[in-house]
Structure formats: C-alpha cells, structure tokens
C-alpha cells in the first residue's frame, strides 16, 4: 500500500519577474515502511519535493496524497495537524529548540498533540534511550555535538509515531563516521518503528543504506534505480 502518491507535481518559485520551476511534473509513489533516498545534485529539487511531501510547502499544480488524503486542498490548520500527527522531520541543521533540553525537545510534538505531560515524558524517555542519549536528557542543544543533536532530531521526529519521516540531507553537517551512524540509526528505527523514511542526499556514499533510490535532476525524476 502506498503511503505517498504524487502525480504531475509542479512547483514554481517566483524570482523577481521570472518564474523558476523547481519541480516539473513529478510522479512518485512510496510504499508504507519503505526507506527511500532521494538523490540529486544541489538545486535539483530534492528539498522542494520533501517540503511538498511534508506539507510545509505547496504544490503549484498536481496531486499529492499523503496517507490517502489529498493535501493540496487543505487549509493551514488541517495541514499543520497532518504535519503534527503523520509526519516527522529531520533537518540538515538539526533545528532543535535551543531553550529546551534534550528530553523537552523530544517530547515537544507530543505536548503540541495535547498528550499528558507524564505520557509525553514516558515516550520521550523511551526514544532518548533508543537513540543512545540517556545520559544527556538534561542537556541543552548547545551542549551537544552535531551527531548528538541529530539523534535528538531523529527521536523528536519519531516520538509521535508518524507514518512518514522526512530527512533533508541529515548527514550533510556531520563527519562521515557520525553520518554513517545516523543513517544506521535511521535504518534501525525504520525497522524498529516500521516508519516510512524518505531522506535526501547528494552524497553517493550514503546510498547503500537506502532500500530504494529516487534520482532527481532539474526538477524531474530521472530514473529509479533498484536499491542496493
């Protein structure tokens, strides 16, 4: 069963008086529980595609179904609710909330979901243990290394049990060893939590972790090689 179905997706950005096409009619279907890497050079449209799938950007035209629901016609409140309940995000620059410590960052989405503080804390503690940061729960992001921050981001993305986790260049700001460990962790969490992972990268070394690779170039899917 497909968790994501994209048809004829186009996305244009205005740039002064001109329109720059970022996506030029993308068709893509993602099966539930998959672990996909979107690869392509800088400016190819990877981030735009992830943003549209993640409901943080809007398509100019085309159809995007997430969990069987067409998202292009939803209002901001509904879209935000989908982001909260169905999607987890991992960013290249970690994007943790600096005034919250590790455990608070992880439980943050649960509190937005109006879960009780105790329930949120319990789930966050489980995840913090799974990502190997049990000793750092009281640390603020500024007190963590890049790899540790990304682990926190992974735990935060997974804390709501989302259908999909989107990771935009999750290893770009990490050294190769840490990057590999992060991808290992993502893969492990994919297996453990049965969550669909889609991550973008332009690093050919990380492709070995993907079950499926989608190559994007100039705003279109070039070809879909079989995953390693």
């Amino acid at each position: 069963m497909n968790i994501i179905e994209i048809k004829e997706l186009k996305k244009d950005y205005p740039l002064g008086n001109t329109i720059v096409p970022a996506l030029r009619g993308v068709d893509l279907a993602v099966a539930e529980g998959d672990f996909i890497s979107i690869i392509g050079p800088s400016g190819s449209g990877k981030t735009t595609l992830l943003n549209v799938i993640g409901c943080i950007d809007f398509a100019t035209s085309g159809s995007v179904k997430v969990g069987g629901r067409e998202i292009t016609a939803l209002d901001d409140r509904q879209i935000t609710a989908i982001r909260l309940n169905k999607i987890g995000f991992i960013f290249q620059t970690f994007n943790l909330i600096p005034v919250l410590n590790v455990i608070e960052n992880i439980e943050f989405p649960l509190l937005l979901m109006k879960k009780s503080a105790a329930e949120a804390r319990k789930r966050a503690e489980k995840l913090v243990e799974e990502v190997g940061l049990k000793e750092f729960t009281a640390h603020r992001p500024a007190e963590l290394s890049g790899g540790q921050r990304q682990r926190v981001a992974i735990a935060r993305a997974l804390v709501t049990n989302p259908d999909i986790v989107l990771a935009d260049e999750p290893t770009a700001n990490l050294d190769s060893v840490t990057g590999a460990s992060i991808l290992e962790l993502m893969r492990r969490m994919n297996e453990l939590e049965k969550t669909t992972f889609i991550f973008s990268t332009h690093d050919a070394n990380v492709l070995k972790y993907a079950r499926r690779i989608v190559k994007i170039k100039d705003g279109g899917i070039e070809r879909e090689p079989v995953a390693a």
């Binding site: 943003n51 993640g54 943080i56 950007d57 901001d76 409140r77 935000t80 609710a81 982001r83 909260l84 309940n85 995000f89 960013f91 620059t93 994007n95 943790l96 909330i97 600096p98 005034v99 919250l100 943050f108 989405p109 509190l111 937005l112 979901m113 503080a117 935060r156 709501t160």
Partner: protein, 585 residues
Amino acid sequence: MLLIRLSLRNLLRQKRRNILLGSAMAIGVAILVTANSFSHGISDIMFNKIMRYVTGHVAVRFNERGGVMREIFRDKERVLAAIKNEPVIEEADESIGMFARAIGNGRSDNIVLVGIDTKKGISKKALKEMEASFRLVEGQWKDVENASIENPVIISEEKARYLNVKKNDIVRVRFRNMFGQDQAARLTVAGITRNDNIFMQAVTFLELARAKELLGYRPYETGSLSLTIKDPQKNAFALAGRIHERLKPGAAVIYASAAGRAGRNPVMLLGYKSDNEAKKKISGILKLTAGSFEKAFKKDGVIVPSGLARTLGVSAGDAINIRYDRKFEKTPKEASYHISAVCSATGYPDENVILMNDSGFYDLYYEDLPAGPGPEVKPYSAARGAWDGLVAPEWILLKRTFNTEEYKRKYQEISRNKWKGTTIDVSTMYETASDILKLESVLNIITISAVLILFFIILLGVVNTLRMTIRERTREIGTMRAIGMQRADVRNMFILETFFLTLFSAVIGIITGFIVMRLLSLINFQPQDNPLGMLLVNRHLYFLPTFPGIAGSVLLIIAIAVVTAWFPARRGANLPPAKALRYFG
C-alpha cells in the same frame, strides 16, 4: 503550560535587550503609579481633610427666607429626628461658623470662627483624625469650655504668628451675626494648633454654644448639620436621599385662638403663598364680602371667613388678637393683626382658618414656633383640590442634586425665587465639591497622557524588539510550524513573552513607585503661605496608592503592550514554514 514555559525561557535568551526594555517599562509604571497615587492623595486631602471639616460627607443646610447667609433652622430636634437611626452616620455636627475680621497685636486678618462641641462624645477615630489634622502645640481642646476665660479660642500657629498673639492674648473680632447685624467680641487665645493644610490656617475654634450665642442662635435652633459617615463613596448619596425623604414638609399651621369684639375662638392660622401665580389662583377661588384683595395680598394681609368674622364680631379693617402656645417657650405668644378682607365660606379651606400672607405668616411662625394642636383640637388636614399647593409649607425642601452644576443652578434659583420660608437642602460633598473630583480626573488625564506618550516610545521599543526577535528566530518559527505548531500558538508564544516582560516590569515598576513615593514623602517642605501647601500633609507630600488605581495602570500597560505585540507576532506566525526554514539571518 508549554507556551508559558517556552515564553519564559525565551525571555531569558536576550537578557540585556529585555532588561533594558523592561527597565524602561518599569520606569513608566513607577511614574504612573506615583502620579496616580499623588492625584488620589490630593483628592483625599480635599475630601477627607478639608471638605469633610467644611461640609461633612453629607450636609443638611438651612437658609431662612432664602438668605444664603442666614443659615438657621428653628427646630433642631425636628431635623435631628430625620437623621436618627442611621447606622452609617459616625458623627453629626452642627456646622456653626462665621467669617470675622480679627485684630491682634498691631495686625489684623480674616479668620473663620468655627464652633466645636467638646462636650459631646466623639469617637476615637474622629478624635484621632481631628488630632492628626489639627495638632495642638499649646493648650488643650477642653480649654475652649473654660467659663473663667472670655471666649476662649484655639487658633492656628500661622495665624497667631501673623496676628502677633500668643496664648492668653486677646484677639478682637468683628463679624456679622445671623440676622445681618454687625457685632464685635473679644476672644482669648487658649490654645494654638499646627495644621496639616494651608486651607485650615484661618480656622479658629470656639466652643459651639458660645459661637451660637455670638451669632444669635437660641439653644433649640441650629445651623447646618454636617454628617460624617462610613464609606462615604458608597453611602453618601443613599443617605442624603433617605434624609431628604424624611424632611418632606407638611403645611405650616399655628393652632391659636383669635379674639375680636365678640370674644375668643380657637382658630388655625395658615400662610398662603404670595407669588403672582398663587395670588391669581386665590383671587379666583375666594369670594370677598368685605375688604379687598389689594389689601389682603400685602405682607401683613389677613383674610377671615365670614362665619368666623361673625363669631369674633369683626369685619375688614378691625383688629384681632392672636394668641398661641409656643413650642420652646413657656409663655404664650400674642400678636395683633388687622383684617384685610372677609370672604364667604365658598371655596375657603376651613371655617376656623385665618389666612395670612406667607411673608407675614413666616415672620410669626419662625420667630416663635407654635406648639402642636393640643389634645382636643382636630389637626389641620392638608388642603386638597383648589388649595393644593397654595398653603405655605413648614419649609421648602430643595430638590436633590447630583453634581456641582446642578447644585449651582439650585442656589441660583434660591436667590431668584426669594423664598419666604426656610429652605432645606440635603447635599453630599460629591455634589458640593464635584469640581474636586474633576480636578482629580484632570490630574489623572494629564498623568495618563504624559505616561501614554512615554509608553508610546517604550512600545516602539517593544515592536522593534519583537521584530528583531522574530527575525532572529525565523528558522525556529519554521521548525515549530514544521513540527506541527499551529499559527495561533506561535503568535500566542510571542504575545506571552511580551505579556510576561510587561508583567515583570510592572511589578518592578510598582515596587519602584512605592520606593519613590516613600522617598518623596520624607522631604520636609516649608510652604509659608504658599497655596502649594494644600498638597502637603504635615509638610510632606501625600500619596494615596489605591488598588484599583494600580491595577488599572498595570492592566492598561499590559493591554497596550499585548495589542502592540499582536501585529509583529501575527506576522511571525503567518510566515510560511518552508520560507521560514530557508531563512538565514
């Protein structure tokens, strides 16, 4: 809770910026609280330390024959009955005072002689307040009762200095008594007070009974009554209304006997109103059988019904002798009048009634108030029908007014109408001195205007700070929105930050305000004959912070800050998440 936690922690992120902005806000709040307390203090001085002693919280005033200076009511007990059983009344004082020219040792000045009743019981609270406002530096209050001293008085320190007199010196005074006659008296300085307020420096205290005697009052007569009550703001108007209701007058009746050539007969003397409108009505009602309306409508006009004239054996032009028992004197009162007109019984109020022009009638009535009708005499029942409103009442009860404008108009009316009877006016200090309340409002408006300008400048700071904060945290906003935070929550988070910053600043501002007030009130001013002395209590600035005043100031500032924060906060919240995440500041 999540938003509150985030807002509070975010406040600590830009400590220096927030401390600077918060300090500016705290200074604004401190100014507002101080200024507000100062204007409240002025009102309190005016109402509770000046007006209270001048008029009381509620006053019952009398003006005989509409003479504004003739403040006398001839039946003290009657009016005291109207204020009996009122638990809100703390003190009821006869307000007996007069302007006088005082001549001391080589210098003269105006003073206000005020009668005080030291024999009457006084509550501890009233005594404490009195002693706080008028502190004796020489002598004792009881000295004004000393019968061995000629008219002992207690005079203010400033006035004594000006008149060049000291304790036991004689001060001569010239004044006009109740009836407009110039009088002179010798006063002995028995005590000296140091007063709170410049307004009170002219006040010279004299024992109430002596003051009344000097002014020409008899023991059963009274001047205006000043009532000090509990919680005047709450109770004054209601109490004035109740007293007013109880003072509604009946018809003024003298139960007398009249003697003519044929003998003496019981009669009732009534006054008829003698204004033009009343005279026109009366001339339409009565059918004269002898005499003329021209004579009857004169000040000493007397109208007798034909039946009574026959019984007494008199006719128009004849004299009759009137005799009646007086309410406060043992001997009866006797007076002679000439009959101006005799009329038929048709339309006449009662067969035993003698009608008198109200002007002459009140002369007799007020000079010696009559006793009641006696056990075997049928009391007069108020005239109905044609005579309704034509019979002179016991007094004229002035309508209640509720602000200074109405009050002024009422007194202008008194001088225009030339009332023949005594007017009674029940008023509160809120109408006699609502201008003072206006003064407080004006002071508050000036303060608030100044502070609003200050706050406008501060709030530009709030907007600027918030815009900078939002710009710095654009990616954070994008992250929160991407994670699933609704726009309203993002907006509220920034508004809460401003709210908490303002709240903490306000608390610090209030504390600062109290410290400033304390420091300012420690300064000892020496306002020698300076009107600014009215702003002082015991030579110190007086502040009266009130909970509603402070709470109002804080709410005003928080409301302004929150409204100001709304717009940049909404702009921040409305940023598209993808755009916010792309932002690099």
